[in-house]
């Protein structure tokens, strides 16, 4: 089964690389969805079906749709390719790429030098176990998360409201 893991991992890495280098926002977003789906497959391989399902539904589904909306609202499709090309010169990306590569090398070094248990046994954790843990031990955290979502909702609503300049001022004054 391992080859399947390496294949999906390779797809994830490749599509992610495409995301960060692509000049068209919509295409980049599609690559991102691909990457997320690949990660969902990896979740499944690690015995986490619930996580895989959520990854597909929420990440690749809901969140990406949200971003698509915004791209459309800001008209960031084909028209901005030229602008992106101007912004993404090699001189701009070499430095960050080097930094990240360095970081990655360090991480690899650290991971490879750490002694790992020989146990390669992975455990299957089904939605039931997750549900039990979530609503028993973590129930308070769930409530907090719901508060967070509510706050995000209200915040997003408030921030995204497009005030007209003439009414905004007078409205505040009254």
């Amino acid at each position: 089964m391992n080859y399947l893991f390496y294949l999906t991992a390779a797809i994830a890495v490749l599509s992610t690389t495409m995301v960060i280098f692509h000049r068209n926002a919509v295409h980049a977003l599609l690559y991102l969805v691909t990457s997320l789906l690949a990660v969902a497959v990896i979740f499944y391989q690690y015995g986490a079906p619930l996580a895989a399902a959520l990854e597909v539904i929420i990440y690749a589904g809901a969140i990406m749709v949200l971003i698509i909306f915004v791209i459309m609202m800001l008209n960031q499709g084909d028209s901005t390719v030229v602008q992106e090309r101007a912004w993404l010169q090699p001189s701009t990306w070499v430095g960050p790429a080097l930094l990240s590569a360095l970081l990655l090398i360090q991480l690899i070094l650290l991971v490879s030098s750490a002694p790992f248990s020989a146990v390669r046994a992975f455990h299957y954790i089904g939605p039931k176990q997750v549900g039990i843990a979530l609503f028993s031990h973590y129930v308070l955290a769930v409530e907090l998360a719901s508060m967070l979502l509510l706050a995000g909702l209200v915040g997003a609503f408030h921030l995204a409201r497009h005030r007209k300049p003439e009414t905004g001022r007078s409205g505040n004054a009254n």
Binding site: A9, A25, I42, Y46, W87, L107, L149, L159
Partner: protein, 105 residues
């Protein structure tokens, strides 16, 4: 119930690290806010992957619980962030993050 055929822990961590570094690199090199948001998503997703891999290694449901929280967080974050992007675009008529430097010393 152990799964014998699963890839190793190291492989999972390495993949997560790679994804995270890619996301970080993207954050640093892109000037378009939308791309930066996507890169933030990559980073959070890498972190979530780490949780799940670790949970699977220890046979513990906590990893996936944390994954759910990360997803929640990402959802809230992306909502707020996109709202901010909209607001930013309305005010400055650009999506260039470098124009947003009012806090310079």
């Amino acid at each position: 119930m152990p799964i014998e055929t699963a890839p190793g822990l190291e492989a999972g961590i390495l993949l997560a690290s790679t994804l995270f570094c890619l996301g970080l690199a993207g954050l640093m090199m892109r000037r378009n806010v939308i791309f930066m948001l996507m890169c933030v998503e990559i980073c959070t997703n890498a972190a979530a992957l780490m949780f799940v891999v670790a949970g699977a290694h220890w046979g513990n449901a906590d990893g996936q619980v944390m994954f759910i929280f990360v997803v929640t967080l990402a959802a809230a974050e992306v909502a707020i962030a996109l709202a901010l992007v909209l607001q930013f675009y309305h005010r400055k008529h650009t999506v260039d993050i470098d124009q947003l430097n009012d806090l310079r010393g």
